[in-house]
């Protein structure tokens, strides 16, 4: 099984996936003083300030919402708790850019909220102040509402895993339950909360759709502008590299917190803390409190989308929409297959050799999950264009034929970018599955008379099936939701659900954008449901 060919091919593929990151970072080696002088004079300060405020704001808000919800659900027993604890995951299904224009539709001058207010109070235009959702605080709110589940999930697990005896220990040492929360429960859950917040902040930095739609200039919009507006590809790559440095900082924070998490949750699985029962009105208020994020993060925008979609139901059977579905699904399915197969190769190669020459490239390849889609798109585009140009040149010199853009304008570029972006998701799933198969199982099967191929077929395949399926599904859904890389890299006139929905919304055709957006949200629900079931069963397993 440890054929050198297999491990060399795997290393090659892993290095290939690491190319975009290296290209972006490598762009810093070619200084561009004029561009940077220009950026410094004009927009760079805005990019930095807005991106940082956005990331910090989203980090704080999602940490606050997620922690509050996690504590309520983990420590109190109230009416509807069992349902609400998975409803709280629903906002994950809504991409932030879809939130952004749903809320714009809800809250703008002609939208239902302001119309109703005018009707009630007999106001007319200019009579009243209404906060502008299309702003930096608005973007923070939109992103926090869909990203808080990261914190919620991790913090809920952390609070649940805190042994009930911690509270009792605090009390025998002279502290009230309230003091215990601030002195022990919260600090012990801090690594989990930080990890979740770091993930939310990475997503916030990666966001393009929301900030672009709200007219907030950040790094991601700046990269688009430098690429398309100024035609400066190297400059775009350098801006990407700068953005990367922020992201890497967050990545470090996340990894560091995760390490701490392991220590904090060591040897503390004794007794599940008992939930305090809250009855009557107080219990009902807790239910309402937990429903707030669900309502604002899922129900309201989803209802708005449904409302619009019903108006345009005739579109459902149109050839245009069918084409969108076909494009999106085939692209997502293709990417899922490629990514999961590569992940399987990487995971096996790592298991078989464990040598640094293999582990390192695989780790590099899996780093893409932290990087914004925009950055990866740039990192894919530059080397592919260079490759195309040299092939073109070579073909012209040799045969007098011009080949033009062989790769960079095609689906190859798009699939490559997706694979880089979502490799970590697939790898994580597959490695978790592979971990269940201990080396002694291989030995046991061999000693019972199975050949290596037989072991693969009769032991590994059945055990890995579930995790490979979940890798396929997760990548499939992520590709459907992805916006910025698709916008940058799609072949001319090739539209997907996300791109079409986004373009229509940008043209202020919100109602027309609803149907593709709704399709994305509905498909996005599938992994959320699977996730909530997985969380439930792992919590049962812990008991």
């Amino acid at each position: 099984m440890t054929s050198p060919l297999f491990s060399r091919t795997t290393t090659l593929f892993a290095l290939l996936l690491a190319v975009p990151v290296l290209v972006v970072l490598g762009s810093l080696l070619t200084p561009q003083p004029e561009l940077w002088a220009h950026l410094l004079d004009t927009v760079l300060a805005d990019y930095v300030r807005n991106s940082l405020v956005l990331a910090l704001g989203v980090g704080l808000c999602s940490a606050a919402i997620g922690t509050l919800m996690a504590w309520t659900v983990a420590r109190y027993q109230f009416i509807g708790r069992a349902v609400v604890q998975w409803l709280l995951l629903l906002p994950m299904a809504v991409p932030a850019y879809i939130m952004a224009y749903s809320y714009t539709g809800l809250l703008d001058f002609a939208g239902p909220v302001q119309s109703q207010l005018r009707l009630w109070f007999d106001w007319s235009y200019g009579d009243y102040y209404f906060p502008e959702i299309r702003s930096l605080p608005g973007a923070i709110l939109m992103l926090s509402l869909v990203l808080y589940p990261y914190v919620y999930m991790l913090a809920r697990t952390a609070f649940r895993q805190q042994s009930g005896s911690l509270l009792e220990a605090s009390r025998t040492l002279g502290y009230t339950p309230r003091q215990h929360f601030w002195l022990v429960a919260l600090p012990v859950a801090r690594p989990a909360i930080l990890t979740g917040a770091a993930l939310a902040m990475m997503e916030a930095l990666a966001d393009y759709g929301t900030v672009q739609y709200f007219g907030v200039t950040t790094f991601t919009t700046g990269i688009f502008r430098t690429w398309f507006g100024m035609g400066n590809q190297l400059g775009a790559a350098q801006l990407s590299a700068l953005l990367c440095s922020f992201v890497l900082l967050l990545l470090y924070l996340e990894q560091w917190s995760r390490r701490k998490l392991k220590f904090y949750q060591q040897g503390q699985k004794q007794q599940e803390p008992s939930r305090q029962s809250i009855h009557g009105l107080a219990g009902f208020s807790l239910l309402l409190l937990c429903l707030l994020p669900v309502m604002f993060g899922f129900l309201l925008p989803a209802l708005q989308l449904v409302g619009w979609a019903v108006e345009r139901l005739d579109q459902l059977w149109s050839a245009d929409f069918m084409q969108l579905l076909l494009n999106s699904f085939s692209l997502a399915a293709l990417t899922a297959l490629v990514t999961a197969s590569l992940a399987l190769c990487f995971a096996y190669a790592k298991r078989l050799s464990g040598h640094w020459s293999l582990v390192l490239p695989v780790r590099l390849a899996a780093m893409g999950y932290a990087l914004p889609g925009t950055v990866i798109a740039i990192g894919v585009m530059i080397p592919l264009a260079a490759l195309d140009n040299s092939i073109d040149l070579w073909a012209e010199q040799q045969f007098g034929i011009r080949t033009g853009l062989l790769l960079s304008g095609t689906l190859v570029a798009l699939v490559l970018a997706y694979t880089v972006r979502f490799m970590a998701v697939a790898l994580h799933s597959v490695e978790a599955g592979l971990m269940q198969i201990t080396p002694s199982m291989d030995n046991a099967a061999r000693s019972l008379g199975e050949s290596p191929v037989g072991v693969l077929k009769r032991v590994h395949l059945p055990l890995l099936k579930a995790s490979v399926l979940s890798a396929l599904l997760l990548v499939f859904v992520d590709v459907l939701k992805e916006l910025p890389a698709t916008l940058l890299l799609r072949p001319f006139n090739f539209n997907t659900l996300s791109v079409r929905s986004y373009e229509l919304a940008s043209d202020e055709r919100l109602a027309d954008a609803a149907l593709p957006a709704l399709a994305i949200v509905l498909i996005g629900l599938i992994p959320v449901i699977l996730l909530s079931r997985a969380l439930d069963s792992s919590n049962r397993g812990a008991q």
Binding site: S165, L173, P187, V188
Partner: protein, 344 residues
């Protein structure tokens, strides 16, 4: 002094502790011993203030802590506790854990207490470590130091050794007993392991089905068990059928014995408790028994023997008395006092 008066505890309809009364003197180490589900942990948690009592009262140093409908909060009880899972705070260092209950003392004094306790539990250099960097036995010591720091009136220990390796348990039990004795601290421990109870406690309470069956020293529990359950739960033993004769002596398959206290009158059918160390191997004896099984215990061999009438007893013989299975050996019953129960 800790006094429990007629304490009952119930969860909903199920009463888990019934009418338990006991007194723990200042400086004494007590232990609640019993099989799992006997209510011993519930009783400990009621003393700590985590469970309300349904009837009766918990009185510490003259003031009532728990009565039906009236409960002092755990944080106001001055009762320390060492938890089964230690419940050390993972985000704090060892020193910070120990200082956790000392918030009302000035910093300098806190430091002094922490240093002193670290020395007492034998970890003087580990104050700056985090909990996850310690071994199980070290964590146990830190948990003890943390509970002792606020100088509680009584210390509760919930199955304190259950998470540790067998060889570590005995050493730690002796260390902890020495520390408690030296500082004159009253303590009440809960365990299901009688050897832990013997190693730690002055007074042991055996519990079953929520009732305190007997409260006494280890010697009393072993040699003067109050009832069949205690006789069976503490130590090895067999019950030999007997009959009280006209002269109030007891006739058994291994001879006739005088009652230590004349509890049973002539004609009553009784069971006599026979411990393995009561049966002495003696080749001259007129009584013989067949070896049914044997288990080697190092210095001794524990034999299961079958008497003529198919009754079985245990015999603890020095291990150079090595007899074959199914062989017959001579035995005699040597009793200081008789433990008799009326036959059921």
């Amino acid at each position: 002094m800790l006094v429990l008066q007629q304490v009952s505890i119930a969860y909903g309809q199920a009463t888990v502790v019934k009418d338990v009364s006991l007194t723990l003197q200042q400086g004494q180490i007590g232990c609640l011993l019993g099989p799992s589900g006997c209510g011993k942990t519930s009783l400990l948690r009621a003393i700590a203030g985590f469970e309300p009592v349904q009837t009766g009262s918990v009185v510490l140093a003259g003031s009532s802590l728990s009565e039906p409908g009236n409960m002092v909060n755990p944080e106001q009880r001055r009762i320390g506790m060492v938890f089964q899972d230690f419940a050390l705070f993972p985000h704090l260092t060892v020193a910070q854990n120990i200082a956790f209950g000392l918030k009302k003392k000035p910093k300098a004094q806190q430091q002094q207490i922490v240093d002193e306790l670290l020395a007492v539990v034998g970890l003087p250099t580990l104050g700056d470590r985090y909990v996850h960097q310690l071994s199980g036995g070290q964590q146990q010591r830190v948990a003890l130091a943390r509970a002792l720091a606020p100088e509680p009136d009584v210390l509760l220990l919930d199955e304190p050794f259950s998470g540790l390796d067998a060889d570590l348990r005995e050493a730690l039990a002796q260390d902890i007993r020495a520390i408690l004795k030296q500082r004159g601290i009253s303590a009440l421990m809960v365990t299901h392991d009688q050897f832990e109870a013997f190693a730690m406690a002055d007074q042991i309470g055996v519990m079953q089905h929520g009732k305190l069956q007997q409260w006494g020293s280890a010697y009393e529990l072993y040699h003067q068990p109050a009832n069949r359950f205690v006789a069976d739960f503490v130590g090895h033993g067999a019950l030999l059928k007997g009959e009280v004769l006209a002269d109030e002596k007891v006739y058994t398959a291994l001879g006739v014995f005088a009652q230590t206290q004349s509890n049973f009158t002539a004609g009553v059918a009784v069971d006599l408790l026979v411990r393995p160390d009561d049966i002495v191997h003696d080749d001259q004896s007129g009584f013989t028994a067949k070896v049914v099984s044997k288990s080697f215990r190092g210095s001794h061999i524990l034999y299961s023997l079958e008497l003529e009438g198919a009754e079985q007893v245990y015999c603890l013989a020095p291990s150079h008395h090595n007899h074959q299975l199914h062989s017959r050996i001579g035995i005699k019953l040597e009793l200081d006092h008789l433990v008799l129960f009326q036959r059921l």
